[in-house]
Symmetry: C2
Subunit: 661 residues, 2 copies
């Protein structure tokens, strides 16, 4: 590698393993070649815990990472072995793919993701176009050219289904085939159970803490067959384009762990392609299960190459964004042909799921006229504009079966977009929103007819008491296809803190049955999230997803809570940090008050100070309980009588003399 | 004032009014002398909004603030007029009140608030005692001596009920008296309704968005009689000690707006008395409805004088903390006499409510022996220790009626403490917790027999699916006395972010019926919150409380959401900021991307950029809807036919040429 290497420099920030953690790989049984990565945390008391790990090879010090080469194509042997695909000469690259203007066309939009709203508004963008640079002596021109050349080298020759074949995981599942992806997912969802026995063996606690799955059917242990069956039923999807062999398979479904999505996206002004890859690595480090690349403007194709080739998590896109670029930002000029070309372009690159706003039907558009905040989805606005201009039905709706043909040739999953989602609590659960939702249900049936995997996008802005109706309507009209919601934000008055206002709604709807939660960052509605905003959004959503998992009753989730609580109670500070969602911040906050290393092994905390110890009192409680017994104590409750203060004789001072520590 | 004046310097930070805001005062009708402060926000479109305002006179530029004199004693004429109190020579100050050691005693604890847990652990503390300074030439000794002398000047001569009288608001309410406090509260809860008409007049929206009060009985309009009735029933309390005439009356009850509490507390090492007052002013600026002073250690009495005399919000304390200081930190040496002396000391100072852990009964202590995290409440630990040492019932329980006699002589409210609350999800809703809760219900009946106002404290750490049971049990066993919960935290693995993990639980339990939410800061479990942590905790809890209010159906809450949403949709950026919970942060985040003033009035946002405008599209939708009508559009849905593209003729480009802006 050439020095100084910007990538190496950037990636050095996020390649280090989490503290006290090592990557372990759990082998498959049906499919021997499978190696499922997990993070094993070594605890200071000799125990360990194994955690679900989204960070990919980046946190494995033994992995040979080279972003110019891309990640290892782990799934290629699996795909090859199925014998139903062919390698072919893909669509020829076009200048317009990267936003280069065609003669006579209006200037292409460089509007970054987002129509002023949420899911499509949380990635980095720009506000004004830079001059198109063409001077070959310009270092920036040289840099972009070099990146493109390298990306062209990164791009794999595409693969597609052989004529008549269908390569979707749903298609295999429905034929009774347990793919390596399915076994991989089963192992991943289960985590290792050995260390959890201590936390999950108490009968009283199991009864008292048993989850309320709200209709979900969670197995005690996920088998590969269970994964197959859920995918076959359409209740879960495995986003895994055959042209994204680098992906570590994961599942999105109500009967599995709740997942989260983070949005990234390029901006010619405020970020570079390299930075987008770094943002990807950063996002998965903190727990993003999926990433949507919402890039627009220049270098959109090249950016996607870099992201997909270096991503161990599924990548989703909103293809209408790039299609709009190709027609110079004029929505009326969009056509099925241009859109179809974009779908194939992105499917060949390896995009795992497409947000497709096929439910924004012409007759629903007037239903938004009386709204407080109109249409706030960028995709929804573009399609509404097209429909109104032509006075025609949405071409994504009329060409839906054509789209299915493309999806099943690459195993791209549908994420049926909610272009009419509410942009304020005032518009929640209105006629337009639910009319679109019902249409998404109709489209789901069509997709399933083609064995195309499908999930359904949901809102948005919804007050707490109206959230459950969203889940119920979705289950009812969309036939249990996985729900994928943005938040929802429960109030409107918290700009600057909408990661919190939406984490409340996300936790609730996750509990009610939503399979994946699209994050919201603190910059929502206000500006472009930076690196720290991305992390804040992800952590808030890991909290929401974990809260939902605990409420539903996932045993692995409760075990992690209990392991951390035990460490907390026993003043094992390092273990408390290392089992938390963000060990760095936990440690830093602790060190602000008690920086010395000795304080991390001392039996006190900054709240109590060295002379007061709740743990010691609790030990005394245990001795007291053992000596007195519950029955006698209960008897005492009736008629109190003074007893000999034998307990006091034990030198039971509440403050431990400091010299004893 | 002497310059440089540290107070003036500190307070200058937080005395400025919120942007575009002015303090208005709404007059009473029954009680003409009443002036209820509200914050009126002037909007850029000529409209205005009136918001509930906790910030007190500090944000009124016309108020003459002098922290050495204290706030105006607004309520004194009201109290005088009742003619049932007498001014008397209070309890003589003792050196031990401020933590000065008695000869032969162990060193007093300087443990700051918190038993390693939550409510009692969120204020500033210290970990090691400074040397007791006595050298009169030491500037620090001089400073403290001066503060004490000034505080002694601040302290009002105490007032108490005349012999046989009961001065509690509940007592008046039960005799049918509408006090000025009650009318004040009615006006405050209603806010001004004129500006809300626009947001609350649409029948479809009112029907669709109607709240789900979960059994609460919210009036459309709060009358003084309604306040009286709720207080008489015990469903609401008005914390307002007759020795805290500076308080701006507020109500805590399920049928009113959800309130929040912030904790502060001194630490001889890390903060000064002046800083505590500044922290109070900072906390109420961001919306704390109540503040608990959890000071311990040195200067505890003096600190409280400064805080109460300068506080427009009710102040709560945990008297056992100071009592423990008086016995040198040895829990076994606590006695009813020392505790009683402390109650009187604090009641004379003007504390509005006492957390009293009278439900930590001896027979319940063994029930905690098998817990994952034992007893985590500091107060609970202290009393468990006392009970075990003496093998006697908790003296707060056995002397409960004696305590009632003190409470009703000053109108101090009970906050019956949950000393056995769970410290982890694993311990949620267990036998110990609910045994204590039932006891608090018994004690509530005793308190009500004395017409003493009472609220009930609740957990703590509770997974989402177990939260509602807490509310149901509390309603069932505590006879609808207001519930006051700490969070609850929904998961255990988020140290560093527990303001978020707990805001989720707080929003839910607030919706279910909790009347006041005790905040949690990001430093929970880890360290001592600084000024920014206090703000972060408060904003997270304002979000939770507002989300609960919206879900319950408070019209004023929805109106604020709608006003901000309208401003957002119309690109009135300044209005969006100024109607938000934290205008400073919203503006700052926006300015990071688009700093120029012109961009705040431009019709675009950083997500869309100047060439794409969702508002313009929505305007087109309205025109489209008007032209086509819903019926025709619906007919179109059946059989699509190409129509003339008349709409297109309107020059309906999706991107507005930048020169038009």
């Amino acid at each position: 590698m050439n020095a100084p290497d910007k990538f190496a420099q950037l990636l050095s920030l996020t390649r280090e393993p989490f503290p006290a953690s090592r990557k372990i790989y759990v082998p498959g049984q049906i499919h021997a070649g499978i190696r499922v990565p997990m993070r094993e945390v070594a605890l200071s008391n000799g125990e360990s815990a194994t955690l679900y790990d989204t960070s990919g090879p980046y946190t494995d010090p033994t992995a040979d990472i080279n972003v110019r080469r891309g990640l290892e194509a782990m799934r290629t042997p699996w795909i090859d072995a199925r014998g139903d695909t062919e390698i072919y000469t893909g669509r020829a690259a076009q200048a317009v793919d990267d936003g280069v203007r065609r003669a006579g066309q209006p200037q292409a939009s460089t509007a970054p993701p987002g129509g002023g709203e949420v899911r499509e508004a949380t990635s980095v963008g720009e506000n004004s176009r830079r001059e198109d640079r063409t001077d070959p002596s310009d270092p920036e021109v040289q840099r972009i050219a070099a990146l493109r050349a390298q990306a062209a080298g990164l791009q794999r020759t595409p693969r597609r289904a052989k004529a008549g074949a269908n390569v979707s995981q749903m298609h295999y599942a429905r034929r009774g085939i347990i793919t390596p992806e399915m076994e991989y997912i089963a192992l991943r969802e289960n985590s290792k159970r050995e260390w959890m026995a201590e936390y999950l063996s108490d009968a009283e606690r199991n009864q008292r803490l048993r989850g309320n799955p709200m209709g979900a059917q969670l197995p005690e242990f996920v088998t590969p067959e269970f994964v197959r069956d859920e995918v076959a039923r359409g209740r879960a999807i495995i986003p895994a384009n055959i042209n994204h062999p680098e992906v570590e398979p994961m599942v999105i479904g109500r009967n599995f762990l709740v997942k989260i999505n983070a949005n990234i996206g390029n901006s010619a002004v405020t970020s570079s392609i390299e930075e987008e890859v770094e943002k990807l690595v950063w996002a998965i480090r903190w727990g993003a299960d999926n990433v949507m690349d919402l890039s627009t403007g220049k270098n959109i194709h090249t950016t996607r190459d870099w992201i997909i080739r270096n991503s161990p998590v599924p990548i989703g896109t909103v293809p209408i964004y790039q299609a709009l670029e190709k027609v110079g930002g004029v929505a009326e000029d969009l056509s099925w042909e241009i859109y179809r070309d974009t779908l194939i372009e992105q499917a060949e690159q390896g995009v795992d799921y497409f947000t497709i706003h096929a439910g924004v039907r012409l007759p629903f558009i007037p239903m938004t006229a009386k709204r407080r905040t109109g249409i706030v989805s960028r995709g929804g606005s573009i399609l509404a504009k097209w429909c109104m201009s032509h006075h025609k039905e949405n071409f994504l709706y009329t060409h839906f079966e054509d789209i299915c043909e493309i999806m099943k040739a690459y195993d791209v999953s549908f994420s049926l977009g909610d272009g009419l989602r509410p942009g304020s609590g005032a518009d929640a659960n209105d006629e337009a929103q639910f009319a679109e939702l019902r249409t998404l249900g109709e489209l789901t049936k069509i997709a399933w007819k083609h064995d195309v995997q499908t999930m359904i996008e949901g809102p948005g802005h919804v007050p707490m008491h109206m959230i459950q109706a969203n889940m119920e309507e979705q289950l009812k009209h969309c036939h249990e296809a996985p729900f994928y919601t943005l938040g929802p934000l429960t109030i409107d008055i918290a700009p600057g803190y909408d990661h919190i206002s939406s984490a409340i709604g996300a936790a609730m709807i996750g509990w009610y049955g939503t399979a994946m939660l699209c994050y919201v960052t603190p910059k929502e509605h206000l500006g472009l999230p930076d690196r720290n905003d991305v992390k804040q959004g992800i952590i808030a959503y890991k909290i929401a997803a974990h809260a939902a998992d605990v409420a539903k009753g996932h045993p692995t989730s409760r075990a992690r809570d209990e392991a951390l609580s035990k460490a907390r109670f026993e003043f094992r500070w390092h273990d408390q940090f290392n089992l938390s969602l963000d060990p760095d911040t936990a440690r830093e906050f602790h060190d602000e008050t008690l920086p010395k290393e000795v304080s991390k092994v001392a039996h006190f905390c900054s709240m109590c100070g060295p002379k007061f110890c709740s743990m010691k009192i609790s030990q005394e409680v245990r001795e007291f309980a053992a000596r007195q017994g519950l029955d006698e104590a209960a008897a005492l409750a009736q008629g109190m009588q003074a007893k000999s203060a034998e307990f006091r004789d034990g030198g039971s001072e509440i403050y431990i003399p400091i010299q004893k520590l």
